[in-house]
Amino acid sequence: MKAIILVGGFGTRLRPLTLTLPKPLVEFGNKPMIYHQIEALAAAGVTDIVLAVNYRPEVMEKHLAEYEEEFGINITFSIESEPLGTAGPLKLAEKTLLKDDSPFFVLNSDVICDYPFKDLAAFHKSHGDEGTIVVTKVEEPSKYGVIVHKPSSPSRIDRFVEKPVEFVGNRINAGIYILNTSVLSRIDLRPTSIEQETFPAIVRDGLLHSYDLEGFWMDVGQPKDFLSGTCLYLSSLTKKGDDSLASSSLPYVHGGNVLIDPSAKIGRNCRVGPNVTIGPNVVIGDGVRLQRCVILKGSKVKDHAWVKSTIVGWNSTVGKWARLENVTVLGDDVTIRDEVYVNGGSVLPHKEIKANVDIPSIIM
């Protein structure tokens, strides 16, 4: 089977992290975001993966070569010289997707969930129509495009309602699809939207179905959601009893959902959790309090610091008694001096912060 992952542009919403690495390589739960997707696709029997990007992907090539080997799959890039929207890239990658007659998966690279590819393929095969959209239930459907089914069928889609004022349903497009190759003939090679042009056309023919996603789902394209998504992901690991999580019997683990790379060092009298990921070679000092945060590779959090709702980018240093909170994001190689407070600061790479950041702001 085949899959195309829509990576798109520079991931500006996830800056300052994406000033250093392309978004698919930013670690989510201590693995690059795209690793989660490739791993799940390979497990479902996918052998060919296209990454649709609109920038030069040199930095990614090395990593992807490793994944090709690890999973025994082929990964190719489809490079847009101009942005082609969400449908155009499919046409551009037509050659790979038309390699055989089997349907192909389409994924937005920002979406994190328990990928249900095997089950999704089986469901798609069972109804035999042209496409299947994964849908997830949300509490406030008025912010999204909602899917409405035909009265006669639990899965066949009747129409899409964009940002409904009145309640018409609470299932929204989760950004994951499985489509027959015939869909490619519905797409022109131009900037075009799969949600607004291609799907409505298939719906008119009554050939599009929905598939309900079990478990968590999150678009982690921006820092706030990246943190929320991390919480959901870690909770899901806990629910599954995943043994990569730090044991609750460790003295410093507090409230569970803590993922620590084996190479990381944790000092004495720390309190870590809930919802914390600590990357490789991270050094946590003594008496540090971490909760709802992501500490990326090679960073250092010094003694007595307090970190909450924060992403500490690679190779950064958080000073003693520093306090970071409210969706603070540190880029690569940032230094927060001792005793400094940062409230919702977005700090670009290679900066040193010497004075408090009292109100959310971007530090260039």
Binding site: N269, R271, D286, G287, V288, R289, D303, H304, W306, K320, W321, R323, E325, E339, Y341, D358, I359
Partner: protein, 481 residues
């Protein structure tokens, strides 16, 4: 203690009579009327009488003017009168008395104020033991008389033994009190009055009493209290040395003038004509008795007396708002450091001098303290806590891994683990204790009143918290009732 005093005074007076000029000291401990009994503890502090005939009056008075007078040291003054508030390990008054004790000719100190007698009882007892050469007494005003009115009211006590000179100190001043230098100038110039002056920034000057002086002779040419326009950046420090023959007649003249006509606050102009005639107090009886040095005496002295200014290059701050205790604490600690005081904690990698830790306080070795921190009796600072530029009052608990910066933790306060209690640094030469954040004026220093508790991991920034409150959520830029 008070029984021992009379036996020593005649002896001193006799000494004075043998040719040493005697000086007394008066510390003015003023507090306005209509304040809660506790706060009303701190008005006029007594004067100190000395061996040679210099008398010292310390005016322990709090702020004068405005409807909120005397309340600016809240919330701390809700529990302790300002003159007795501890900075650098000792009551504010103690620093005044210590300075007075360094003038050899002073043997009597009178504190004049409006507080009840009981308020200063323990302080006087302790200070009399610590300064055995000083007789320290408290003279209580039963109605607010103003800084000069109080002196005049107690003139019989102050003039007993015929002192030639009298130092008058306001107790809400934090400075090095270069009294001996003032005394030297006084003698050199054969002066009738010497005022301590200091330079402040031009834009801050008009919030103080401004002195115009002759650069060479140091003679005071003109004095205006809180002028509307810029006159001079040499300002009144609230510390004076007067010849007794000059000051008491001057006050008497002012009182007489007062009874003849209302006080002229400033030179009338078309803009302020209506407001320029003001009564000091609501009731007419009180009005006639309130005479202030600053408004009613000094200006006249500049015109008619041998009035000189001693300009200090050393530190000087007013202790007005509660937050100003933090810079005062820092300045007195630095003074103690420079004089190699044995009271200060020994520097270590985790003790950044100057730091005062009361012998009964416990500080875990991994806590990092300083600079400019005082930790009061029986307080406990937990492992890995950080305290900088702050005052921790007695019986407080600062738990592990917490952080306290530019703050005052009131008596019996609790700061939870990983909590952060934070104010904002006051620039080194600023006389302001508030800052504007997001367009709102807030206190620079965070103050937790008595027995306030900050929960674990909670952050408190630029807040003033009244006594007995528990803070469970993050707060910033607020007064918490």
């Amino acid at each position: 203690m008070s029984l021992q005093v009379p036996s020593t005074i005649p002896h001193r007076a006799k000494d004075g009579g043998q040719g040493h000029a005697s000086t007394k000291a008066v510390i003015l401990v003023k507090l306005p009327p209509y304040i809660s009994p506790r706060e009303a503890c701190a008005p006029w502090l007594p004067s100190f009488n000395t061996e040679s005939k210099v008398e010292m009056a310390m005016s322990i008075h709090s702020d004068v003017g405005g409807p909120s007078r005397g309340t600016r040291f809240r919330p701390l003054s809700l529990d302790v009168p300002k003159p007795l508030f501890d900075v650098a390990g000792h009551p504010i008054l103690w620093h005044c008395v210590t300075a007075v004790s360094k003038v050899p000719s002073i043997h009597e100190v009178y504190m004049i104020g409006y507080y009840e007698e009981s308020v200063f009882r323990d302080f006087i007892k302790d200070a009399s033991t610590e300064f055995p050469n000083l007789s320290i007494k408290y003279l209580r005003e039963y109605q607010a008389l103003g800084t000069a009115g109080g002196l005049y009211h107690f003139r019989d006590a102050l003039l007993k033994g015929r002192p030639e000179r009298i130092f008058v100190l306001n107790s809400d001043v934090c400075c090095s009190f270069p009294l001996n230098d003032m005394l030297k100038l006084f003698v050199d110039k054969d002066a009738e009055a010497v005022i301590l002056g200091t330079r402040v920034s031009q834009d801050a000057a008009n919030t103080f009493g401004c002195i115009v002086s002759d650069n060479h002779t140091r003679r005071v040419l003109h004095y205006v209290e809180k002028p509307e326009s810029y006159i001079s950046n040499l300002i009144n420090c609230g510390v004076y040395l007067f010849s007794t023959e000059a000051i008491f007649p001057s006050i008497k003249t002012a009182i007489k003038r007062r009874t003849d006509r209302p006080r002229l606050v400033s030179y009338p102009s078309s803009e302020n004509l209506e407001s320029s005639f003001m009564y000091d107090d609501e009731d007419d009886e009180g009005r006639e008795k309130v005479i202030r040095l600053e408004q009613d005496i000094l200006s006249d002295m500049a015109d008619s007396k041998q009035f000189y200014v001693y300009e200090t290059k050393d530190f000087w701050r007013q202790i007005k708002t509660a937050g100003s205790a933090v810079p005062a604490n820092a300045l007195y600690l630095q003074q103690a450091l420079q004089s190699q005081s044995k009271e200060l904690a020994e520097p270590t990698p985790n003790i950044i001098p100057p730091v005062f830790i009361h012998p009964s306080a416990r500080v875990e070795p991994t806590a990092k303290i300083g600079p400019n921190v005082s930790i009061g009796p029986r307080s406990h600072v937990g492992a890995g806590a950080r305290i900088k530029e702050s005052i921790i009052l007695e019986d407080s608990e600062v738990k592990h891994d917490s952080c306290v910066l530019y703050s005052i933790v009131g008596w019996g306060g609790r700061v939870g683990a990983w909590a952060r209690v934070e104010g904002t640094a006051i620039p080194a030469n600023s006389h302001k204790t508030s800052i504007v954040k997001n367009g709102v004026k807030v206190q620079s220093i965070t103050i937790l009143g008595k027995e306030c508790a900050v929960g674990d991991e909670v952050r408190v920034q630029n807040c003033v918290c009244l006594p007995y409150k528990e803070l469970k959520r993050d707060v910033a830029n607020e007064i918490i009732m």
